[in-house]
Symmetry: C2
Subunit: 400 residues, 2 copies
Amino acid sequence: MANDNITAPRGFLASGVSCGIKKSGKFDLGLLVCPTGANAAAVFTTNKIVSSAVQISRKHIKSRTTSAVIANSGNANACTGRLGLNNAVKMCVETAAHIETNPHKVLVASTGIIGKQLPIDKITKGISKAITKLSASGSAGLDFAKAIMTTDTRPKQAIGQIEISGEKITIAGAVKGAGMIAPNMATTLCFITTDAAISRPLLKSALKTSIGNSLNKLTVDGHQSTNDTAIILASGLAGNRLIVSRCPRFRKFEKMLTEFCDDLARQMALDAEGATRMFKVVVTGAATKSDARKAARAIADYPLVKCAVNGSDPNWGRIICAVGDCGAKLKPEELSCKIGNITVFKNGNPVRFDVKKAGRIISQTQHTITIDLAAGRQSDFCYGCDLSTGYIKINAGYHT
Amino acid sequence: MANDNITAPRGFLASGVSCGIKKSGKFDLGLLVCPTGANAAAVFTTNKIVSSAVQISRKHIKSRTTSAVIANSGNANACTGRLGLNNAVKMCVETAAHIETNPHKVLVASTGIIGKQLPIDKITKGISKAITKLSASGSAGLDFAKAIMTTDTRPKQAIGQIEISGEKITIAGAVKGAGMIAPNMATTLCFITTDAAISRPLLKSALKTSIGNSLNKLTVDGHQSTNDTAIILASGLAGNRLIVSRCPRFRKFEKMLTEFCDDLARQMALDAEGATRMFKVVVTGAATKSDARKAARAIADYPLVKCAVNGSDPNWGRIICAVGDCGAKLKPEELSCKIGNITVFKNGNPVRFDVKKAGRIISQTQHTITIDLAAGRQSDFCYGCDLSTGYIKINAGYHT
């Protein structure tokens, strides 16, 4: 496809510029515009401390339609009090003035260091610059994806297409990683565009389900940030009959959106801070869904498991230790564990296995750890990544 | 003091030997004997998966008196099924035969890799060797402390003395670190001796309180192990009148034991895997004690906070982020945070502060982070340590 960026669906313009928030001179301000107005839905962090941008966007998402999203990186505008809130409003007001819309139709997102005031004059000038660069081209979409990056090593984008009632529907978007990431309602900054015609309530429902089964399954370091935001804008320009019920057309759309978000989640795991590889934890035989989720999360978050994955080391004792300590119901004497397709622990007993082969499985870019708790019939999964010396190097000196 | 080791209190003999569990040839088997029989108390891990040693010692602690503790490092004897359980029993039986006592009067503890069977023949020979080396000398006590080490870089011991009803009471002991450590009922392996005359129920009560306010406040990497065990043996040979009630003499004993355990906890934090420094998190203004505990723990466990401490970086935004995400009740607009005595965040607003001075505070061996949640009057604390590249290096290749 010529354009597999956030500008691929009909009806969207984007741009990315450097306005001087980042000292490096890299892109730090992204603008996304839907001139015809889009149906929008969003999910936000459930952290009790939220950024100014999240506070404002939570209000603005209630607007009947949405015209633009303005997003900056390099500064989270969180823990910045009244001034921070005013600055977030100003970003919406400035953007709205340029595209001649109501500020309530502009959503705002920020990511970066917590506790510093935004250089709002630089951002104001940056918005003017971003306006002049707005384009529906693929490269403009890529610029937007670059503008939301923090410690990401590469822009992360995805695209999906399906036919709904004879019309081609496109979904595209960009996401940023790469630390302070853990699943809860929404993770990191994620912007999605689609030309599907779909009502706001159903768009919200599809977004919640999709994020819940993809980005919210990812944990890099166990904490959601103060700024997590996922926004989807639907221009409705694909020409399909408006989706207004949970009909098969809705299911098709929701399925595509979930696959699309799963793609983004895996890209995030593989580009997590210092990560060299990712893994999926599948928990089966749980007494409750919540137990399955808890156990998967405990394994994926456990530093000793993450280090073992980094060392391509089938040290399954650490997996069992994490499961035993997570609070989930389990039968120790029937517990089993697999690394890839190799059984390493069965019915509470260690199993002789080919350690070198297991090591090779772990050394791949992606592998799966499966644990059966032998306590019921529920299951869930989680994505994690290894913990490397790179993570420490990135995060030991980020502030100064 | 000539002897400030676990053999310092009257009535104890100890030894440490190398029996071949560790390939390095380092000490890996420790023996502690109280020939006159001791009142004993213990606390164990609450992990649902427990080592064979924990399963056996939980039974044997019910014996009216205890004569010995046999402990090995280099192998956890956890997740080892029926054979593992038999091996743990055998360690008690062999020890008991040598000192002519009932196996139920012997406690057993193991630490090391999970999922491997013990080399029981080597251990049996090692027990014979340990018996011949038994001594009340300080160096024998030090050998015992060395024999329980895993990734510890140094033996960790402490000693305390007080007078109770005119008699000098001594408490001494040894503990091992250095990973898979998080507070819950008991942490790691910890062996304590005292010559105090104190009833078993009160000894148990004092141990629970002391461990709860010291070792259980420490988190290195967020998970308690399958093997955590803390044991105290009281020979009663100090000559004090038997403590049988919660009288001032008991309070005095309990206070000394708590200070003693706090000393051990700090030594563990400073010798945690890869740690270069430790910190104390104090949470005030919490709605409940549980909220205070949860918030302190969330901060101390958060990899991004631990990395910032490693980098001497006053990146307080990560502290606030962890608190906001931990589920504790808080008032965002009244939240405050201090690093050492420097206020960095007050009533929900960032505060100008001397970043270099704050960095110097963090770069010390120990510093304190204080957070006020502005939601009530409860408080609690937690000990943590930094996360360094050393932790990754130690744990990425431990198994193979």
